[in-house]
């Protein structure tokens, strides 16, 4: 089964869970005065769950047929068949790095977290010229911090939590 059908299967299952929540759990919380309303908070989700399940099944069962000759895949297009040739390791490391950044942003402060993120990100991608990368990362971090804090007036804690 192709990936798009697997996704359709997951989507149908998701719609069932969503529909279950809409049909069977939401209305119990409804205050009595709202029950006289023709439209409930669960009405729209119910419609969406049913529509979603139907459309998901159409994709899953392949009722709508694709036609026309398949285009010749170009080397720059993203193609599942080439998955093994892709740099999956780098991608996963970068994703992990983003999660780490999200978790470290508050405790470590903007300046440290961002500099580390930028340097580590380019290291993952294979950059080894640290004498260029580290100053660039620090400069960019400082500039963005100034822009956001000074010009836009949005507070970003610059330093780690123990420095205030």
């Amino acid at each position: 089964m192709a990936l798009d059908r697997w996704i359709a299967l997951i989507f149908v299952a998701f719609c069932c869970i969503y529909g279950y929540a809409a049909f069977f759990t939401m209305d119990q919380l409804l205050p009595p005065f709202m029950q006289r309303n023709p439209v409930w908070p669960s009405t729209f989700p119910k419609v969406l769950a049913v529509l979603g399940a139907v459309v998901g099944l159409i994709v899953l069962l392949g009722i709508e047929k694709a036609d026309g000759p398949d285009k010749e895949p170009s080397p720059t297009d993203i193609n599942l068949a080439n998955l093994r040739e892709y740099k999956l390791g780098q991608a996963f490391l970068l994703l992990a790095l983003m999660v780490a950044y999200a978790l470290m942003l508050r405790p470590a402060g903007f300046l440290i977290a961002t500099t580390v993120f930028l340097v580590a990100g380019s290291t993952v991608l294979g950059e080894r010229k640290f004498h260029v990368m580290i100053p660039v990362a620090m400069l960019a971090t400082g500039f963005v911090w100034y822009l956001v804090q000074g010009v836009l007036g949005i507070f970003l804690r610059p330093f780690p939590f123990f420095l205030g």
Partner: protein, 505 residues
């Protein structure tokens, strides 16, 4: 009207207001270029500045300039990075980005600038003519029609996704609508599908979703397949800014059609620049014939000019309901409405009568703003395009960082970043499976409005009766069903014909 225009000219050409236009366009372009910072967030950030000005005309002129600049800056990042920070420029990346990857980034940016200028200017002329008249047309629309109109918009977007893709696009639209139900709806005032998480109480942020759907998968693909980044730009040198006379001739009818169509779509509340640009793109693709149609999605001149013209015309059009009815047609004009109320001006039918200088100064400043964008942006294009010359090892961490920043600034919440990464992984997998992501985002944006209008008509008519009682609603809903079913009907007929089977009867 002539008297009004004269008053407007006088107000708009004061030194202060001229400076406001230029400053607004500049700030808007530079911030709008950063992927993820859309006009909504920029305008929201600029409101304190505008309010301290004290002069409502100057404030509105400044904010309108920021709005235009941001939309233009958004198209720049769509073309160069395939990272639209604004939903309205998503369609720009369909043909703009392939063009940039072919080494024609300079030409793509010039076409975008010219198309934006034409769309905005023609839109402003139409605004001058139609603003008074159109208020009566828009008054005919009730929530039932708005609901039906949004259904038509969503169906049209799915229907134009291409043969064999309609069901997939519809699936994505519904997923977007489902995501929009997360959080506390304005109408019911009770949290839904938050799974008990405080962070989901206010729903998923549009900026986060837009980043996750477009910027993040693109960055991931750049990582996965180094070939993809390698062909981008001709070593960062943008040489050929000009487009040929033949390409110019191709663009003229597109600009003509799309500025009018975009303007009228922009007038309708809820539709706005996003739908205008997608619909403009789809209409032009359907109108194009043979080889030209094949070119759409691979760097077509028409495919780039259409959404660029339409979204700028629609931006202008979205001022019509704001200025004449006091109803914001989009999130951005809603923020503008908030700023006006803070300045003690109530937009509405009385605005033209009571304070004509504000009304007309804003319209005149639109002409000046478009001119500033064209004069400002064309010479800056080679410098803007330098962004392509940055080596991949530096560029990718920075794209990821700006993506994270955009989501963080909007919400000031680190959990938002985790949501962003999660949605981004989901979007990357969906892209691998060839699912279109734009319908998801549009569904998400329109979801809240769709439900509000649906619920309001249900309440007014005590049930689904509004569909039968309002012929315009019924007509629009039938049109929506027709749009969804048409592609598979046509494909089936074509298949039968190819197999040599008679068509029946």
């Amino acid at each position: 009207m002539l008297e009004g225009i004269l008053i407007g000219l006088q107000a708009a050409f004061s030194i202060q207001n001229l400076l406001m236009v230029i400053a607004g366009c500049l700030i808007g372009t530079f911030i709008g270029m950063l992927p993820g910072l859309g006009p909504m967030s920029i305008i929201a950030i600029m409101i304190p500045v505008a309010i301290t000005l004290g002069d409502p005309a100057a404030a509105l002129i400044l904010l309108a300039g920021v709005y235009y600049g941001a939309i233009f800056g958004g198209s720049t990042s769509s073309i160069l990075l395939n990272a639209p920070g604004v939903a309205g420029t998503v369609a720009t990346s369909f043909d703009g980005y392939p063009m940039a990857r072919k080494g024609q980034a300079g030409k793509a940016l010039t076409i975008a600038a010219v198309a934006s200028f034409a769309g905005g200017t023609i839109g402003a002329i139409l605004l001058m003519i139609f603003a008074p008249a159109l208020s009566s047309v828009a008054l005919l629309f009730h929530s039932a029609e708005y609901f039906a109109l949004m259904v038509v918009g969503l169906s049209a977007i799915a229907a134009f996704a291409g043969t064999g893709q309609v069901a997939k696009a519809l699936m994505m639209t519904i997923l977007g609508l489902i995501l929009a139900t997360v959080g506390e709806g304005a109408l019911f005032n009770m949290p839904r599908f938050t799974m008990g998480l405080m962070d989901l109480q206010s729903g998923i942020s549009f900026i986060t979703l837009a980043m996750a759907m477009f910027a993040l998968p693109e960055a991931m693909f750049l990582v996965l397949n180094p070939l993809r980044g390698a062909s981008g730009g001709s070593g960062g040198k943008i040489e050929n800014l000009r487009f040929s006379r033949e390409e110019g001739r191709k663009m003229v009818p597109v600009i003509g059609r799309q500025s009018v169509q975009g303007f009228f779509i922009g007038v309708l509340p809820g539709a706005g620049a996003t739908i205008a640009s997608f619909l403009g793109y789809a209409v032009e693709r359907n109108l194009a014939k043979g080889a030209e149609q094949e070119e759409f999605g691979n760097g077509s001149v028409k495919g780039l000019a259409a959404p660029e013209t339409a979204n700028n015309a629609a931006c202008t059009g979205s001022f019509v309901p704001l200025l004449t009815l006091g109803i914001p047609g989009s999130g951005t004009t809603a923020i503008l409405l908030g700023a006006l109320i803070a300045l003690n001006v109530t937009p509405g039918p009385r605005l033209m009568v009571d304070t004509p200088e504000i009304f007309w100064a804003v319209i005149i400043s639109m002409f000046i703003g478009n001119l500033v964008l064209l004069i400002l942006n064309l010479p800056l294009i080679p410098y803007i395009a330098k962004i392509l010359a940055i080596p991949r090892n530096y560029l990718i961490p920075f794209i990821l960082f700006f993506t994270l920043m955009g989501a963080y600034i909007g919400q000031n919440n680190a959990t938002e970043l985790l949501i962003l990464v999660g949605l981004g992984v989901m979007a990357t997998i969906l892209r691998f499976a060839d699912y279109p992501l734009a319908p998801l985002l549009i569904g998400f944006i329109l979801g809240t409005m769709l439900e509000d209008n649906f619920a309001r008509s249900m309440q007014l008519y005590r049930g689904l009766g509004f569909i039968l009682e309002r012929p315009m609603t019924l007509g629009l809903l039938v049109l929506a069903a027709f749009l969804v079913l048409l592609p598979s009907y046509r494909a089936r007929r074509a298949r039968k014909r190819a197999q040599g089977v008679a068509d029946g009867d």
